[in-house]
């Protein structure tokens, strides 16, 4: 954590003449960046909205009046409403234990938390099919008891929880590590109990980092495709989330409808980016404050 103090207050040294590129080189580099971003970031986004309205506003509206679309939206909201709070509680617990204590197996725990970020989402779905699928470990037992996990909502929730659990923990760990525990210890000596310390001391310090993690977790939960596609079974009106609904519409050549649903998710992505940028900026401020407090 030695570096926490070395975070520069001035983010950008103002470039001086001797260390600046010629105007031509500068213009070329900016042009390359603009073209690269236009091709890979802006155009895909523009395409989504353009195609969504390509067959007119009426079809756009009709897409959302369709009961299958509404079911898909409801299921997506339901899954996120279960997965995000679960992973928020987990993220807080994991960050608290990992940044407040030193114990053996800590690195292993951290690696486990990272796992969904480096493993294919399809593998993330696969593992639950192997456990709960018709020919999986508990499959026959579940069939006997008439309870479905795979090709049903519980499987979708499980797969979503798997792909999204790192986000809150990952948003909090660097921040809580940098902030240290002086204030918590002070609260402890003043007689506060664990819950009070968390609620009154820690939570206000980490709220922006927490929001940052939650918002990313939510975006991924609502947009996950690979893992959910493996466990869902694509049953319309029942196990179709918004991304899966987009796939079905697209494969049926209902392009405008597919893009209409996609535009809603694209809007969610833009809102996420906006909140994320703001939360990052606030988190950075909290980190700077932490750095100042550590080394006044």
């Amino acid at each position: 954590m030695a570096g926490a103090s070395s975070i520069q207050l001035h983010r950008h040294g103002s470039p001086r003449r001797a260390t600046a590129e010629s105007p031509v080189a500068k213009a070329i580099l900016i042009a390359i960046t603009l073209v690269f971003f236009a091709l890979f970031l802006f155009l895909p986004l523009v395409v989504v909205f353009q195609e969504a309205f390509s067959k007119g506003l009426a079809l756009f509206v009709r897409t959302f009046q369709d009961s299958y679309t509404q079911d898909a939206i409801k299921l997506t909201l339901l899954v996120a409403a279960i997965a995000v709070p679960l992973n928020t509680v987990f993220g807080l617990a994991a960050a608290w234990s990992l940044t407040r204590f030193r114990f053996t197996g800590r690195s292993f725990l951290v690696t486990l938390i990272d796992l969904p970020l480096w493993v294919s989402p399809v593998v993330g779905g696969l593992i639950y099919v192997l456990v709960f699928g018709a020919k999986g470990w508990f499959g026959p037992w579940l069939i006997d008891h008439n309870f479905r996990i795979i090709f049903a909502v519980p499987g979708i929730v499980l797969a979503t929880v798997f792909v999204t659990f790192p986000f809150v923990a990952r948003g909090l760990i660097p921040l809580m590590e940098a902030q240290g525990i002086k204030e918590e210890e002070a609260a402890l000596t003043l007689g506060a109990n664990g819950w009070q310390i968390f609620r009154r001391v820690t939570l206000p310090k980490i709220k922006w980092g927490l929001l940052y993690g939650v918002i990313l977790c939510n975006a991924r939960a609502m947009g996950e495709f690979g893992a959910v596609s493996v466990v869902s079974g694509h049953i319309r009106g029942k196990t179709n989330t918004m991304p899966l609904h987009i796939e079905i519409l697209y494969n049926e050549y209902q392009f405008a409808a597919a893009f209409a649903v996609a535009s809603l998710l694209a809007l969610l992505a833009l809102v996420t980016l906006f909140i994320k940028t703001y939360a990052e900026w606030r988190t950075e401020k909290q980190l700077l404050e932490a750095a100042r407090d550590q080394h006044p």
Partner: protein
């Protein structure tokens, strides 16, 4: 810890692996022996949660793979169609990651060093591939590059077809890996000591020399880390690729799709075998990226 929280998640992920490894206490912010409450509760909860969500299901993957026996395992993972999919996933990902390496460095440089209107929006947009659901990205890129659409129309006269070819997979994987290099390199450029560049200029080096001999060597570990992260992400990518690739057997089928096709035939051991290969590959990429990351940290003088 050097990384600014602001910079982002990717870095946070890899850097904090380092910072959390049991190093000697290096600063006052390290927790000391004390009696803050909650270890039992929070650690217990985390461990139980991870066991249920991760350890038990993954042990099913290992046991299912083992249950199929060696011959079945080897037969499955070396079947010609599966081997062809390795090229699509592992080979094309490499080229996408390298292209991101080149353009990512340029973009990071431009975003840190230059001031121009719209810079902040560009900077925020870098994370779009993280935030945009992969299925949305998939259909959008397909619409862009399909033969008679947007960009596809202009490429057609040159005989270039992107969508439904391996080039399409490349485009999707480049999109998905775009943030990684930019976000790992950005903070390093931000922390470059301008004095060193001044010294190089005083000694008569032109900008290109300074870049080649002074700046690039400093950036190299972070560039390689970013490229590895982008590669790791691209290898497992599914949603954005399946739409644009067209999924032609032996040509544009990716490895995750092979897992799904095995599952559709209820061949669980076959699916587990291919899943196991992907897991091992991802693990190797993780090890490489972690060692690059510690090299990167040593360069920055953090240990």
């Amino acid at each position: 810890m050097q990384e600014r929280m602001g910079c982002n998640f990717v870095i946070a992920v890899s850097v904090s692996i380092e910072s959390l490894s049991p190093h000697p206490m290096t600063s006052p912010s390290r927790p000391r022996k004390h009696a803050l409450p909650g270890l039992g509760l929070t650690l217990g909860y985390s461990v139980v949660y991870l066991s249920l969500i991760v350890l038990v299901p993954f042990s099913a993957l290992f046991l299912k793979t083992a249950a199929g026996g060696w011959e079945h395992f080897w037969g499955t993972i070396t079947a010609p169609r599966v081997v062809a999919s390795y090229w699509a996933s592992f080979g094309i990902s490499f080229f996408a990651a390298v292209v991101n390496g080149v353009f990512g460095v340029i973009a990071a440089w431009v975003l840190v060093r230059y001031r121009f209107p719209g810079r902040r929006i560009l900077d925020a947009m870098v994370d779009l591939p993280f935030a945009l659901p992969t299925a949305v990205a998939g259909i959008a890129l397909t619409a862009l590059y399909a033969p008679n659409d947007w960009i596809g129309t202009y490429l057609k006269p040159f005989g270039i077809q992107v969508a439904f070819t391996q080039l399409g997979i490349f485009v999707a994987l480049t999109f998905i890996g775009l943030p990684f290099v930019v976000r790992t390199v950005q903070p390093v450029i931000q922390d470059l000591a301008l004095e060193v560049e001044e010294a190089a200029a005083c000694l008569g080096a032109n900008r290109w020399h300074t870049f080649r001999r002074v700046i690039l060597p400093t950036l190299l570990p972070s560039i390689l880390t970013g490229v590895t992260l982008a590669y790791g992400r691209a290898v497992g990518e599914f949603g954005s690729v399946v739409f644009i690739s067209g999924n032609l057997p032996f040509k544009t089928e990716i490895t995750p799709l092979m897992i799904i096709s095995k599952l559709e035939q209820y061949d669980y051991t076959g699916a587990a075998a291919i899943g196991f290969v992907m897991l091992v590959a991802s693990f190797l990429i993780l090890i490489v990226s972690n060692s690059l990351q510690s090299w990167h940290n040593r360069r920055l003088g953090i240990s």
